[in-house]
């Protein structure tokens, strides 16, 4: 049988709750009851209801207050206020505050049947429309990436083909469009999936740090290099090396990289032994690499080396049909992570997300929803908890530098630690800070010894 939506009956009289619940159960509804406003709000925070039948006069939190809270907790639920004759004025006021309708006690069974029936029909219709739309616009997937846009389907198709080869892949697309996720997916789909996936962000490091990060170094290669260390090219043996933000590397490293890609071999910094590499290269950038080539800041020969299989991820604003799907996808993740009964977005909230243009793409969407999920007091996310656009800062306040500075610091500490084989005293000395400070930073940034 088709499952009907559930109904919450809120009334302080036990016999009313009991009889009304039974009456509605005979109609096949799932019925839940609450003896007062307080209990009702707790239920509203824990589970979604299609219809609320709320008594107007209750001690403590009354029907109007429940109504007001319910409008924000579960904006898609229809609220029917039950009232005695004497309080019809208040019921009219309730209508103005967003109640669906009111019933004056005692009401005709016919009246209740019609009202509840009509409501569930329109709600079922709305739900079916959503499901229908979903079925018509079929969804595509590639590992952890989901989408229902034809553009993305083409991307996934290309990525699947690329995964089967060993060719270098160049992923282009704005920040937060899913470049790294796609790189991981290609790796996971490839024959190298048992091998390591090793990522390097080329933008976050200084030239010399990046160099030793990529190629490793020998003992004494530079001040403080007390031991030798393998670089990412070595670690990625048999697997995939993901060079993120490739558009940001210095001319010297561009040349080094070109050589490695050509000869498939390299030397550690300060070393003389030639090391072979078989790592599969996936590079990504949010910059317009072709433009960088034209302006001379990116080597044309390296560009052609990397541009073997170019894959471009479209910005989120060019595939808005993905917004509801991604929102659902992320809510499901947060539901498990946060152990909160998150169910969906209100209609209004979804409209708001659809209208926005998402300069930060999928990452921004995820962040907005994560914040919303943390703040959510009920199963439905409403526009109230969703803040779009850059956080409003007082005039003159620094913009987004704190984040990137922190990121640079984290990576710098991580690399320094590695260069000193995690000898905290030496690393602290090299960093010019004391050991306690370094310990604190390691804890704060959650830096761990192995990758």
């Amino acid at each position: 049988m088709k499952a009907k939506g559930s109904i919450l009956v809120v009334d302080d009289e036990e016999i009313v709750r009991d009889s009304l619940a039974r009456w509605l159960e005979e109609d096949g509804y799932q019925v839940d009851t609450a003896p007062d406003g307080q209990a009702a709000l707790a239920k509203l925070a824990a589970q979604a209801y299609a219809i609320l039948l709320v008594d107007l006069k209750m001690p403590g939190i009354d029907g109007l207050q429940v109504l007001a809270q319910a409008r924000t907790l579960q904006p898609d639920a229809a609220i029917i206020i039950m009232t005695a004759y004497a309080t019809v004025d208040t019921a009219v006021q309730a209508m103005k505050q967003g109640a669906y309708d009111y019933l004056v006690k005692p009401f005709e069974p016919e009246e209740l049947s019609l009202m509840v029936g009509k409501l569930t029909n329109t709600q079922a219709l709305r739900r079916e429309n959503v499901l229908l739309r979903k079925a018509l616009k079929r969804q595509c997937e590639f590992k952890d990436l989901v989408s229902k846009s034809p553009k993305m389907e083409a991307v996934f198709e290309l990525a699947r083909t690329a995964a089967k080869s060993n060719s270098t892949v160049l992923i282009l697309g704005g920040s937060g469009t899913g470049k790294e996720l796609l790189a991981r997916a290609i790796h996971a789909e490839s024959l190298r999936r048992e091998g390591p996936f090793v990522g390097v962000s080329c933008a976050a490091l200084t030239e010399s740090l990046l160099e030793s990060e990529l190629f490793g170094h020998e003992k004494g290669a530079f001040t403080g290099a007390v031991g030798s260390a393998r670089g990412k090219f070595e670690i990625a043996a048999g697997g995939t090396l993901f060079l993120d933000e490739i558009g940001d590397i210095s001319p010297k490293l561009q040349l080094d990289l070109l050589r490695v890609l050509d000869a498939r071999e390299f030397r550690r910094v300060g070393g003389s032994q030639v090391i072979k590499t078989d790592a599969r290269i996936i590079a990504a950038t949010n910059r317009d690499l072709k433009k960088l080539v034209d302006s001379g800041s990116f080597r044309e020969d390296l560009y052609y080396r990397l541009n073997v299989i170019p894959v471009t991820l479209p910005p989120l604003r060019e595939r808005k049909e993905d917004i509801p799907l991604l929102a659902e996808h992320f809510l499901a993740q947060f539901r498990t992570e946060m152990r909160k009964p998150l169910e969906s977005l209100s209609g209004e909230a979804l409209e708001m997300l659809m209208a926005y243009d998402w300069p930060g793409n999928v990452r921004e969407l995820r962040n907005v929803l994560e914040r919303g999920a943390v703040l959510a007091r009920g199963p439905i996310l409403t526009p109230l908890g969703l803040e779009l656009g850059p956080p409003t800062l007082p005039p003159g306040a620094p913009t987004d530098t704190p984040d990137s500075l922190r990121e640079v610091e984290r990576r710098h500490i991580e690399v320094t630690l590695k260069q000193h084989n995690w000898n905290i005293t030496r690393a602290a000395k090299a960093l010019g800070i004391d050991r306690v400070t370094l310990y604190n930073k390691i804890k704060r940034y959650q830096i761990r010894e192995d990758e």
């Binding site: 016999i15 009313v16 009304l20 039974r22 009456w23 159960e25 005979e26 005692p106």
Partner: protein, 187 residues
């Protein structure tokens, strides 16, 4: 369905029990559900069911009372009364049942009148009573309201609705009823 116990039709009206009427209803109930069914007049009545302001009885309180006086060996009890029933928020109800529970109650009060308030013929009353008995017992076996207005499980809000339906289950409800009772037979 042997181990199911019996269905008890319990007369709890203020007027004396109409034996012939109830016997005919009993036979139909027994054939429909294929469960031994008997009729008995009840001893006593719930003290707290009358709402003096409304002059009606609370079906919910009667139901509770039936539950406290459940005789052994009986699977389902359907109380049949001649007082007008209501629940606090509704002007009246024809009956009330526990979905998938042991007890139900039905009233003949409104079934005895035509839509405009004149006495209905004995044949019409009997037909209506049988339908409402099958309906409420259907609930106790786990059935909910049926959208088919000719099915006995459709909700009736007036005697016109009752007259519109047949004294039997539609195909869907019959199937569902079979599934529900089999579920119970072999757990």
């Amino acid at each position: 369905m042997a181990g199911e116990g019996t269905i008890l039709l319990e007369w709890m009206g203020e007027a004396p029990m109409e034996g012939d009427l109830l016997e005919r209803v009993r036979q139909q109930v027994e054939t429909t559900f294929a469960i031994p069914t008997r009729v008995a007049a009840v001893n006593g009545s719930p003290a707290d069911s009358l709402d003096p302001r409304r002059g009606q009885h609370s079906s919910t309180r009667i139901l509770r009372w039936i539950l406290t006086t459940l005789p052994p060996g009986v699977a389902k009890v359907l109380g049949i009364t001649d007082v007008d029933l209501c629940i606090p928020v509704l002007t009246f109800v024809f009956g009330e049942a526990q979905v998938d529970g042991p007890a139900a109650v039905v009233s003949t009060a409104r079934l005895r009148l035509t839509y405009d308030g004149r006495p209905a013929s004995a044949r019409l009353v009997e037909a209506r009573l049988l339908k409402e008995c099958l309906h409420e017992l259907g609930h106790t076996f786990g059935l909910v309201h049926c959208p088919d207005v000719t099915c006995v499980m459709s909700r009736s809000n007036s005697v016109l609705d009752v007259d519109q339906k047949r004294a039997g289950f539609c195909r869907d409800c019959r199937q569902r009823l079979r599934a529900l009772t089999e579920e119970r037979d072999d757990p």
